[in-house]
Amino acid sequence: MADNSNNILKQLQQLEILPPAGAFEKAWQAIVQNELAAEGDIADAERIIFARLQEHELAAPPLDFSRIHKTTEQKINRIIPVYWLRAAAVLLLVAAGSILYFSVFRKNENSPAHYAGTGMVKDSAGEIAKNDTADSASRQTASVNTTPAVVATEVQQKKTIANNFVNKTKRNANANFSSGEGQLYENDVLLTLVNYKSQDWEAFFTKAVTEKRITLNKYSYHNLSDKMVELLQETYLTKNNGKPARKARKTSRKFEKWRKKDEKYFDKYLQKNPADIIDLSEFILKKN
């Protein structure tokens, strides 16, 4: 019985029935068609979604600045509190003020002039005294020696600065001439103005002509009239070849003539006082 069943199984195992012709091709074709149809649906769906997204509009909410500010403040508060910032600003101001006070004002306060007293005269007076003669550098040294010992160091510094200034101005035409007649050539304003090329006083000349004023110190100055400015400028007129123009030579001669007249009137016999209104008027109004 068992042998029979085994035989049947073997026979069944070995049984071959050929499918009808073209069945496999048909089946494969059906599978492929189904897959293609599925892919086409997905692409269409994506296209539709994309198109919808493109056309989609979201209406913005109305602007609410209070909310914005609130949000911003909250954010800042979270980083550095406002009161810390305020405190830092105050500290910064105090520090800057202290630096300015100690570096500038205290320095002036400790200057020899300030030790001598208070007020505005002393500064200029000091300057006058310092620059009394043509050679101010030596006079400055002399005057410095009389200052209190307390400020000796500072005075020494000032002295060095002053000496450096003098040396610098001798070398550099662009030096600052705002103070000190001691910087003048022969302590003479006119001589300095008309000889600046030979003496390197160009900055002095430019400043004088621009501001129409020569300031030696607070109480000693000369305001230049338009006519005088014109005359001073004329002395530097040049020809194309760089030589002084005829007008320049003429003006220089004019200045020289005036100087001689002035010296003859005031210096020859020492009888006339240029600071006296009558003597000065006689010279200016009559002799000229």
């Binding site: 002039a113 208070t118 005294a129 003479d188 304003v189 010296e263 240029p274």
Partner: protein, 237 residues
């Protein structure tokens, strides 16, 4: 008895305090600095020499028995130094501080008087009611007439401690400090107008006479005296 002695002590203390205050007030130096601007106006156009003084300044410094007048102009810087004691002039030094030939000469009080002899006979008329404010001070008008009939119009104030008469002999009959004065002639006007008045401390160095590169000259009151001195010098040689 005790009350009497207490009162006497109090009186003594008050008296001492008063004397001390008075003495201190007397020795306290009076500081004055006045700066005048010089303005020259000419009626006719001339060469322009006046421009070398037009715009210049004249400053007067007075402090503790010393005074200085300083003229600053394009043409020259010149100073007059005064030493005095109890309103008595002791010495005057005039110095030309600018130029290649700087010089100074000293004058005795008598010589200073001679130097200003044109002001020996002055007449001051202060009866004017005109007034104006100069450098912030209310000023009254006066007219000074010189011996040769020249007149100087001045505006003075009595708000400022007046400078000694010998410093400005022209103003010795003016009852105050002159802050503006002018001299006019047919050819023009020379005006000195105060631009600044200060009574702050004046550095003593300002009264130091510069001496470097300054020649010392002798003053002769007139040409005759000068000639005589020259003759004497030649004879001595």
């Amino acid at each position: 008895m005790r009350i009497k002695s207490s009162l006497a002590l109090l009186l003594f203390a008050v008296t001492v305090q008063f004397i001390f205050n008075q003495s201190f007030a007397q020795i306290k130096p009076v500081n004055t600095a006045i700066v005048y601007n010089i303005v020259v106006t000419k009626n006719k156009h001339t060469g322009g020499l006046e421009e070398t003084y037009n715009g210049g300044t004249k400053a007067i410094f007075v402090s503790n028995k010393k005074a200085r007048i300083r003229l600053v102009s394009l043409m020259r810087i010149q100073s007059i130094f005064f030493d005095y004691d109890e309103a008595q002039l002791k010495k005057t030094t005039i110095i030309k501080e600018s130029g290649k030939k700087k010089y100074l000469f000293r004058l005795t009080p008598a010589e200073w008087k001679l130097y200003n002899k044109k002001y020996d006979s002055l007449v001051c008329d202060t009866s004017f009611t005109d007034s104006m404010v100069v450098a912030g001070y209310p000023c009254r008008k006066a007219v000074i007439t010189l011996e040769d009939e020249k007149q100087v119009n001045v505006f003075y104030t009595d708000s400022i401690h007046s400078v000694n008469a010998f410093i400005e002999p022209l103003f010795r009959c003016i009852p105050g400090t002159v802050l503006q004065y002018e001299f006019s002639s047919k050819k023009g006007t020379v005006l000195f107008k105060a631009s600044e008045v200060s009574n702050h401390y004046i550095e003593p160095k300002i009264f130091t006479i510069p001496s470097k590169n300054v020649a010392v000259r002798k003053y002769y009151p007139n040409k005759k005296a000068r000639r005589e001195a020259e003759v004497t010098t030649e004879e001595d040689q």
